[in-house]
Structure formats: structure tokens, C-alpha cells
Amino acid sequence: MTAPLIELHEVTRRYDEGPPALNEVSLSIAPGEAVAILGPSGSGKSTMLNLVAGLDRPSAGTVTVDGVRVDRLGEAASARYRRARIGLVFQFFNLLDDLTVADNVMLPAQLAGMGRGAAERRAAELLGRLGVDRHAAAYPGRLSGGERQRVAVARALMNKPALLLADEPTGALDTASGEDVMRLLTELHADGQTVVLVTHDLELAERCATRTVQLRDGRVATGTAMELLR
């Protein structure tokens, strides 16, 4: 068996008040997997994703991604870790309104020090591949939700990340656009991209994921997805 790409070991994340958002979660994900994290609202899905992305730090336990102890990284190192290994897709797209679509997509590469020319070529290629190249010079405000999420995925893929993390990528989209993004993620996975996506959409989980992980009250729950959601 290949070494896991993501390894969570007894990870706890406690906020100031209330029960821990994540409670001694252990989980390991292999390269090439497409894992869907399922669970009701407030069960700790986003918290877990943030920990994997190095956006947040666990109160206890270790997070290892691609051999990197993410929980130990400082601010600068975690930023470098993110831009080298992680692509992030959010529910509300989080595109920068003042930058054109192309500039949005180029940004992660430019932050990593890639020259403008090279970044432009890579962005054009990605936008073409995701079918939004005609909007390259437009501003995100003019795009539909589905188009925006495609741009966001293109941006996430810019630095050829080992891991694509998506938090409710279809949560803000209508059914048709949701379908569209679902298909895109499936294709990416088919091309070998490791994907971890958070959702409470069972259909999305079943269609895109090779495996599902259920969270409930900050713990990994056992049982089938169907049982857990009912």
C-alpha cells in the first residue's frame, strides 16, 4: 500500500466555548482517492478541511500531508505549503472582484514567483480546459455562479496541487450549475487528482467520491452514509 497523502492522527480542535469542533479524529487518505466528507451542519467538516489546508491549527493531534507536518508550520511556511500542494475551492467562490478572471487564476502562480508570461500561458490552458476561456478578460462579477466556480477550480489547479480541497463547491449553485461542477470534479479525479470535498449533498458524494467519511459532533461516525444521514 502506498503511503497516505493525508494522515490525521487524533486531531482535536477546540474553540473557546462549547464542545470541540473536532474530537480526536484519525483519518488517512491515499493519493488518487476522492473522498467526500459528509455530516450535518456544525459537525466539523469545514474545520477539518481548514486543518488539512493549514489555514487553522489543531488543539491536539497531528496533521501530515504529503510528508509535511502541517500542524507545525508557521504562517509563512503554511502559506508556501498551500501554494505548492493545495488547491482550494470554496462554497462562495472567493474570487477577487477587482481582478479579471485571468488575473484571479494566475495569482497563486505569481505568488509562488512564476513570471507573468508563464502564468498567463498556464492560466489560458486551464481556462480552456475548464471551458471558461472566453471570460478570461472579464471580471468575476459578470459571470454566472457555475462559471465562477469553474474559474475558482482553475485557480485552485494553477500550481498543480497534490491535493484539491473543496468546501461545499456546489452549495451556492443551482442544480444545473451544480451538475456541471460535479462533472468537472469527477473528470479531474479521473485524471488522477486527489480530491477531498466537503458536502452534505449525498448525491454529490456518491457520484464524485470513491470513499465517504462521516462526521457527527466532531467525531468520525461509523455506518453507511445513508444510515448516518437519515
Binding site: N50, D56, E75, A79, N94, D97, D98, L111, Y139, G141
Partner: protein, 791 residues
């Protein structure tokens, strides 16, 4: 606690940075306004204030003691128009020598039992009033200035020992020294004696009114008894020629401070309200009326502003007191400088400015429909300044920098206001440095010579002003003219041969009259190869031969001449015609001195020879050592060398302290303004910041982006501010000189080198970056998860 109070409270608590910035800016603005205002009030006719405080004499009259009795003089107080009088006091000229036997110029000593009275309440500067025999109080004024160390020394009057017990200042300049009446009587002995009477008139605003009073007094005493009288208007003219210089300077700084405070306070408050627009929307959605919202925000601004204003008034007064202590010495006024009127005006004015800006901004927010307000909070109007973003993205710079560079263009109004703030800060620095340089150059012009060489005369202390006599020599009341050298050529040979000599000039002083100007003027006949280096030209050129004169601006004004004109002169009874070849900056004799080549005056006085040499040493030479060596070398030639002391002028010190202090405050205010703006920007962009960081922007890149966001404003502000500062410096310094009738040489006007200007231009950038550092650090530290949650 009402709902409104709770909103205000939580608002103040939530926006800690803005609250602190409002408080600090108001505090600093109020401090400088109180300082400037108090000094302005204090300098507003410092002579008049001193004169008023001391109930100065409108007329200081001398009477022949042989022609009038004390009773007759006392009765003269009843003359028409006399409102108050003091005297008669006996007075006499005495020979005063200091502790090492140097003669002090002859002084008029007045016998007065005490410093108070109905007129001329003399103020003690140091020590106490003379109460017994063997005691003398020296007057400190324009001509003679004594340090406090003089008090307690043993001097001699007409050869008899006397203790200096105090230094006093009379605004009316009524005496050179005072002693008890009995002591004075014994010093005067059988010699000529006069009575002094001091009068205040009910009307004395013009020369005519003073003249009417004088005529009435004269008529009340036996004919011929009045031997001399000085009008306070003449004393005043002499006195204010110095202090009048401060006024344009204080006005310039006062205006800078006020404009700056309004700008920054307006900026901070408007910013505070604009970031709250969303909150305002929520409040209104919850049922607050627009009026309640407006009130809540005005209160939020007024709370820290009031605290700041109170602190500022206290700080301003604390600063004013020591600075005024300096000017008090200069003007002879005695008060602590706390002006309740200024305090109240500044305090009220500052709060009014805060309230008005807050009201305007909050009223706009209060009127906003809830829906719009809620929407505004979410998306801060994208679209503005996208052209700049596109433009900067092409620059061959790291992406975080090019992103930051475009930020100010998204909010042009805010950018302009912050550019203005930075510009004022930079203008203040430029102005301060330029003014300091100019004033020091004026001093340098007066202090060009390092060493003076005379034949017989030995200099006593206090002969000349604190700057030491320059080429321009001691003013009126100075010592008798020294003897001319018997063999000037020999002296010149010694000076020229002395190691370290950079240049020298021989001078013969005399009297001369010029067509169009009444009265005798001082002539300075110069000789020697380096005479040009002792003068700074305003226009025209230096003397190239006989028949030419150099004069300063007041002379030209008085004579109605221009450079290039000829003028008729009379020297030693001989009429000469000379051409005015140059205008020089020379404040001596109120700028009425005539400088010419020795050869010009030899036509009238063939024996004319220098009586003094001014020598300057090469830079880096030890003046004291040089003087000693020159002294030794000159001894066989029958001449002595003295080094010229260079104490900084008190006015220059005051101005330097003030400029330093005020510009420091303006810079801090500008920096706070920048900081506040960057905090606002960061808060508004916190979500974008989170996105950037999620995409891999490191803390260092974040810092770079935030700092880059103030570079453009800093550069523009710096450039504009420097230009404005130079303009201000030139205007103020020209105005200062113009108010006393002088034009300035370019060496004084052009205070900045091109390298300096470049550095000053970058001052704006420094202010901007300094202001952005703190919030940039905060931005770099913002946790992504937190930033992204801020929806």
C-alpha cells in the same frame, strides 16, 4: 442603559484603533494649536504686552537738575494729558568697569528706591533690587545683555567697588543701571546731575499725541529745564524689529496645524462611519431612526475626541510654559503664557470640527436605506480603479507589490485626503528644515568673521549683541571708535602670514550723510583683498574700485534709489558722488550703513586708515589657538587679536525649538492619518486578504502588499509637500525679512540643496510607510480562517 448608549459603548469598544487614533490626533492637533495659539497670543506685540504689564513710560524725560526743583517736577504730573507719572529720580552717567577692569560703555544710572511704582514697573530678570549702598542693578536690554552669572560680581563705579545684585528689564528702556537714590547721589557727587521723570499720557498712540503730552509737560516746568525726552514709540520701533520676525512664522505653522487637524480628523471620522455602514444598516433594520443612528455615531467620535482635546490642552500648556520662559527673557514679559482664551477656542474648535465631520458622515449613513447599507457592507463597490490594477499588474515587480500599488485607486477620495495629510507632514519637515537653515545662514552672515584685531582698545564684556560683532560692529551706544593703526601694512602682513588665515578685511568706521536720507549714517570703509567674503549680496555686485558704494535694502528704500544709481554723499564735509553698485544683506544701523572702499573716502579724508581688522580662519582651524598665535605675532606691531564669540541668537533658538516640535507633531499626525487609513483599508479588504492567504500569500508578501499600497500616496504626497514646504519657507522668510524692510540674499533664501530636496521628497514616503507598518503587521498576522469567515 438605553439601547442607544449600548450601541455607542460597543462601537467605541469595537473600533479600538479608530478610537485611539481619533483621541491621539485630536490630542496632538490640540496640543500644537494651543502651543501655536498661545505663542501667537504671546508674540502678538510682545513689546506691547511687556510695556502694558510694566505700565511703560510713554515719555521718558530728562531735566537739568540745576534748572528745576523736585517739587516742580512732581507738580508736572498735573500737566494736561498726563495720566500717571513716576519720579523725579536722580540720574547720572557713571564709569562702570567689570570685575577684571574692562570698561563697560558709559551707562546712565537712575536712583530708584524700588522697581515698582505707577509707571515703568521694572521686572527683575535675575537677583534682586538694590536696597543699600554699594549695590547696583544692571539693565538687560537690546544693547547690553548680561548672563545670570554676573549677579554677585564685584564691579567698580567711578573706581569704587560695587556689587551687582540683580539684572532687571525695563520695557521702556529707562536706564542702563539702577541704584538706591542715596547711592546715586554719592556717585554723582558734584558732577552734572539730571532728573528723570516718567510719564504716561491718556492718549499716546501717535507721535503727535506723544508730542502734545511732551509740550504740556515742558510748559509746566521752567523754560529750558527739559533737556531730553524719549518717546515710547521710538523705543517700541527699536524693540519690535527683532520680535516682529516671529509672527509670520507662527502664522504659517498655526495654519498648517489647523488644516492638518481638520483634514485628519475629517478623514478618521468619515472612515469610522463608512466602515460602520453595514452596522448602521443592521441598526436601522432593528428599528433605529436615522436621527438615533446619527447621534450614536457623533457620540462615538466625540467621546475619544473629548478625552484627546483635554489631554491636548494640558500638553499644549505644559509645552508653552518652558518655551515662553525663553521668549519672556527675549521680550522681558513675565507670564506663564497660559491663555484661557486660546485654550477655550482650540478646545471648542476641535470638538466642533469633530462633531461637524461626524455629523456630516453619520447623517449620510443615517439616511441610507437599510437594504443599501447592508449591501454596502458586503461588497465595497467593486469596479473603481480597475484600470490601475490592470496597469500595475504589467509592472515587472512581485505580484503582492503590484496588487498593493493599485489599492489607493479603488478609493480616490480617501487617497486624495491621505495624500494631503502626507503632504502637510512633508511640508512641515521641509519648512522646518528650510527655515532653520535660513535663520542659521542669517546668523552666519552676521558671524562671518572669527577674529578681530584692534590697535589699542580692549574689548569689555557686553559691548555688543549676543551674536558677537560681525563686520558690522557694535551698534549705537557701543564703545568709542578705536584708534586707527599706525602701520596697517605691517598688520596685514602678519595676518596674511599667520597659518590658518582664510581671509581678512580692514575697516574704518566713520560718519557720512547721503542725499535723501536725513541724519548721519555710519560709513564702513573696507580694504583688503577678501572684503567681499564678509558680505552677502542681494543684487548687483561687490565693489570693484573707488567711487562705488554697497548699501542694504532699507537704505535704497529710504533714499529712493536703485542699484546702478548715483548718489551724493558728504563725508568729513566733502561732497562726493558715488554709484550704488550692489545691494547687500546688512542689518547694521537698521540697514542704513554705507559700505565702500577705503579709497572712496580718502578723497574726503586722505589720512583714513583701518582701525580694525576682521579675520576669518580656514575651516577646521581651532579659533582659540589661532587667536593666541596671532596675538603673539601681532604684539610687536602694537595690535591685539580677540576671538569673536558666537552664541546662538535667542530668537533663532526659540524658532528652532518650535519648528522642531511643531513639525514633529505634524509628522506624527500625518503618520496616524496614514495608519488609520490603512487600518480601514485592511478591515475592508480583510476578506480578500483571507483569499490571498488561502492561495498562498505569505505574511511577508502580505506586509509588502500593504506597504506598497501607501507608496503611491506617499510619493505624491511627499513631492507635493516638499514643493509646498519650499514655497512656504520662501514666503515666510521673505515675509519675515520684509516686515523689517530687508530683502534676502539667495544664500539665505535657497536653503535646500538638490540632494536634500530629493531626501525631503522621500519624507512623504517615510511617513506613509511608517504609518502603514503597524497595520501591515496586523494584516500579515490575520488568520485566514477568521478572515474568510468575515462575510
Amino acid at each position: 442603559m438605553s439601547a442607544l448608549t449600548r450601541v455607542v459603548r460597543s462601537g467605541v469598544g469595537r473600533k479600538r484603533v479608530q478610537t485611539v487614533v481619533i483621541g491621539l490626533v485630536v490630542a496632538i492637533a490640540v496640543t500644537s494649536a494651543v502651543l501655536g495659539g498661545s505663542l501667537m497670543a504671546a508674540s502678538q506685540g510682545p513689546f506691547d504686552r511687556a510695556f502694558g504689564q510694566q505700565r511703560g513710560a510713554h515719555l521718558t524725560a530728562q531735566f537739568d537738575a540745576g534748572a528745576v526743583t523736585e517739587a516742580q517736577l512732581a507738580a508736572s504730573a498735573g500737566a494736561a494729558g498726563v495720566a500717571a507719572s513716576a519720579g523725579p529720580f536722580t540720574s547720572a552717567q557713571v564709569e562702570l568697569t567689570d570685575e577684571i577692569g574692562h570698561p563697560v560703555p558709559p551707562v546712565t544710572v537712575v536712583g530708584r528706591a524700588d522697581a515698582g511704582g505707577a509707571v515703568d514697573r521694572v521686572v527683575m530678570v535675575e537677583g534682586r533690587w538694590a536696597t543699600g549702598p554699594g549695590e547696583i542693578v544692571l539693565a538687560s536690554g537690546d544693547r547690553l545683555r548680561f548672563g545670570p552669572e554676573v549677579v554677585g560680581r564685584q564691579w567698580k563705579v567711578n573706581g569704587a567697588p560695587v556689587t551687582v545684585v540683580g539684572i532687571a528689564r525695563s520695557a521702556s528702556d529707562t536706564a542702563g543701571a539702577w541704584a538706591t537714590p542715596a547711592q546715586l547721589a554719592s556717585w554723582a557727587g558734584d558732577g552734572p546731575r539730571t532728573y528723570q521723570m516718567l510719564y504716561r499720557f491718556s492718549a499716546a498712540d501717535s507721535a503727535e499725541e506723544v508730542g502734545t503730552g511732551k509740550t504740556a509737560v515742558e510748559a509746566s516746568v521752567p523754560a529750558g529745564a527739559l533737556t531730553g525726552a524719549v518717546s515710547w514709540l521710538d523705543v517700541r520701533r527699536e524693540a519690535i524689529s527683532d520680535t516682529i520676525l516671529l509672527v509670520p512664522f507662527l502664522i504659517a505653522f498655526g495654519l498648517l496645524g489647523v488644516v492638518m487637524a481638520v483634514l485628519i480628523i475629517g478623514n478618521v471620522i468619515a472612515g469610522a462611519v463608512s466602515t460602520s455602514t453595514r452596522r448602521i444598516g443592521i441598526l436601522k433594520a432593528l428599528g433605529f431612526t436615522p436621527a438615533q443612528v446619527t447621534r450614536a455615531y457623533v457620540a462615538q467620535a466625540l467621546i475619544p475626541a473629548t478625552v484627546g482635546a483635554v489631554l491636548g490642552v494640558v500638553a499644549g500648556n505644559l509645552l508653552t510654559v518652558p518655551i515662553l520662559a525663553q521668549t519672556n527673557q527675549l521680550y522681558g514679559t513675565s507670564d506663564n503664557g497660559v491663555s484661557l482664551g486660546v485654550d477655550a477656542l482650540v478646545f471648542g474648535g476641535a470638538l466642533a470640527v469633530v462633531a461637524l465631520t461626524a455629523l456630516a458622515a453619520a447623517a449620510r449613513a443615517g439616511r441610507l436605506r437599510s437594504v443599501d447599507a447592508l449591501a454596502v457592507g458586503r461588497t465595497p463597490r467593486p469596479g473603481r480603479g480597475r484600470w490601475a490594477t490592470r496597469l500595475t499588474s504589467r509592472l515587472p515587480l512581485p505580484r503582492p507589490v503590484t496588487l498593493g500599488l493599485a489599492h489607493p485607486f479603488a478609493r480616490p477620495v480617501r487617497a486624495v485626503s491621505i495624500i494631503a495629510a502626507i503632504a502637510f507632514g512633508a511640508a512641515a519637515v521641509t519648512f522646518a528644515i528650510g527655515l532653520g537653515t535660513s535663520l542659521n545662514r542669517v546668523q552666519e552672515v552676521e558671524d562671518i568673521a572669527d577674529v578681530q584685531v584692534n590697535a589699542l582698545h580692549e574689548r569689555g564684556p557686553g559691548e555688543a549683541g549676543p551674536g558677537g560683532p560681525g563686520p558690522n560692529g557694535p551698534g549705537p551706544g557701543g564703545p568709542r571708535e578705536p584708534e586707527p593703526f599706525n602701520d596697517p601694512a605691517a598688520i596685514e602682513k602678519v595676518i596674511a602670514a599667520q597659518a590658518g588665515t582664510a581671509g581678512y578685511m580692514g575697516v574704518a568706521r566713520g560718519e557720512i550723510t547721503a542725499a535723501g536720507i536725513t541724519g548721519e549714517l555710519e560709513s564702513v570703509a573696507v580694504t583688503g583683498p577678501d572684503s567681499a567674503r564678509y558680505y552677502r549680496m542681494v543684487s548687483g555686485q561687490w565693489l570693484t574700485g573707488p567711487g562705488q558704494i554697497i548699501v542694504s535694502t532699507p537704505f535704497l528704500t529710504a533714499a529712493g534709489k536703485q542699484v546702478g544709481d548715483s548718489i551724493a554723499l558728504t563725508s568729513n564735509g566733502v561732497r562726493l558722488t558715488a554709484t550704488i553698485v550692489g545691494e547687500v544683506f546688512n542689518t547694521d544701523n537698521d540697514g542704513l550703513q554705507v559700505v565702500t572702499d577705503m579709497a572712496t573716502l580718502r578723497a574726503a579724508e586722505p589720512e583714513l586708515a583701518p582701525s580694525m581688522y576682521y579675520v576669518s580662519v580656514r575651516s577646521g582651524t581651532d579659533v582659540e589657538g589661532y587667536t593666541q598665535a596671532l596675538k603673539t605675532a601681532l604684539e610687536p606691531a602694537g595690535a591685539a587679536a580677540d576671538s569673536l564669540s558666537r552664541e546662538p541668537d535667542e530668537m533663532v533658538v526659540v524658532v528652532n525649538v518650535l519648528t522642531g516640535l511643531l513639525s514633529l507633531m505634524l509628522i506624527v499626525v500625518a503618520g496616524l492619518g496614514v495608519m488609520n487609513t490603512v487600518v480601514l483599508e485592511t478591515r475592508e479588504r480583510v476578506h480578500d486578504l483571507g483569499v490571498h492567504k488561502a492561495l498562498g500569500m505569505t505574511p511577508r508578501q502580505t506586509t509588502a502588499m500593504v506597504i506598497a499600497s501607501v507608496v503611491v500616496t506617499g510619493l505624491i504626497g511627499g513631492a507635493a509637500g516638499t514643493a509646498f514646504g519650499v514655497l512656504l519657507q520662501r514666503t515666510v522668510i521673505t515675509e519675515m525679512a520684509g516686515s523689517v524692510g530687508f530683502r534676502l540674499p539667495s544664500s539665505v533664501l535657497d536653503a535646500y540643496g538638490s540632494g536634500e530636496l530629493l531626501l525631503l521628497g522621500l519624507a512623504g514616503l517615510v511617513i506613509a510607510v511608517a504609518g502603514a507598518l503597524l497595520p501591515a503587521g496586523w494584516a500579515a498576522k490575520t488568520r485566514v480562517a477568521v478572515a474568510l469567515r468575515t462575510e
